[in-house]
Subunit: 157 residues, 2 copies
């Protein structure tokens, strides 16, 4: 059998081809691994995106919830008040079922991470530095702060 360097690669050509094949296989494996990682991340992200959509809507509805509570406070007719109180509870419960959670603060130490201080107040019931009064309710959504509570803190004596 004749070797024709024009038509058949010399052993050098084989070495080059083998190297190219190994490199190409490596590249392919890397791409497969990237693809797999990406796919796993995307599955996690889909759930996070749906939660993000809910969070946006819930955040915009907090003002409605506040205003309903305020309107409720002005109602004197007991029958109407009870009906509206039920609507308010249903509103809050529905939001909570999707991830909303009120920030409990009265009677707890002031926490600047979740609460905005609006001054001090004389409050014999609470030690100094504890939240004595909640002016506006704070909320978390899926454990992340959505809106801080606005509070008055018990002053020192």
């Amino acid at each position: 059998m004749m070797i024709n360097p024009e038509k058949d690669p010399a052993p050098d050509g084989v070495t080059v081809l083998r190297r190219e094949l190994a490199e190409e296989k490596n590249r392919h494996l890397r791409t497969l691994a990237d693809f797999d990682n990406y796919r796993k991340r995307v599955e996690r992200d889909a759930a996070a995106c749906a939660a993000q959509g809910k969070k946006e809507l819930a955040g915009d509805l907090l003002e409605v919830l506040d205003n309903l509570e305020r309107a409720l406070a002005g109602v004197t007719d007991e029958r109407v008040r009870q009906g509206l109180q039920m609507v308010y509870r249903q509103f809050l419960d529905t939001l909570c079922r999707h991830g909303l959670e009120p920030v409990e603060c009265v009677g707890r130490p002031f926490d600047p991470g979740e609460q905005e201080g609006a001054g001090y107040v004389e409050a014999a019931r609470f030690p100094p530095g504890y939240v004595a009064e909640e002016l506006s309710r704070g909320y978390r959504f899926n454990r992340e702060l959505l809106r801080p509570a606005v509070v008055r803190v018990a002053g020192g004596r």
Copy 2:
């Protein structure tokens, strides 16, 4: 130069390597294309997932919206009624800003795709087969039906 089939591949070996390399390149190109398509789909899906989350929450809040409207109807105190009417509008507007849309139906031809018929009614104002009365409002979310309207249809004369 000598050909040693034990140490250096014969031209047959080169052919095999060349075919393997071509196949491997092909596989890699296919994976890259799959990856790219997947990435584009995921970007579209992220927006769709957020919208889906909003749709789920909005769908669960329709009952609250209905109940607030019902409670409103029972309020006689004009000042309270106006306050609650504003809260109701703000509630509806907020949901609509995120994708909700009421199904308009009174005075239009009955459409079984978006409306549930709850019988016929005598209605001189509308031609037979037109919606004469809305018993429960229907809603779309991002143009898809979320809840059908429940209506009474004008009967024939």
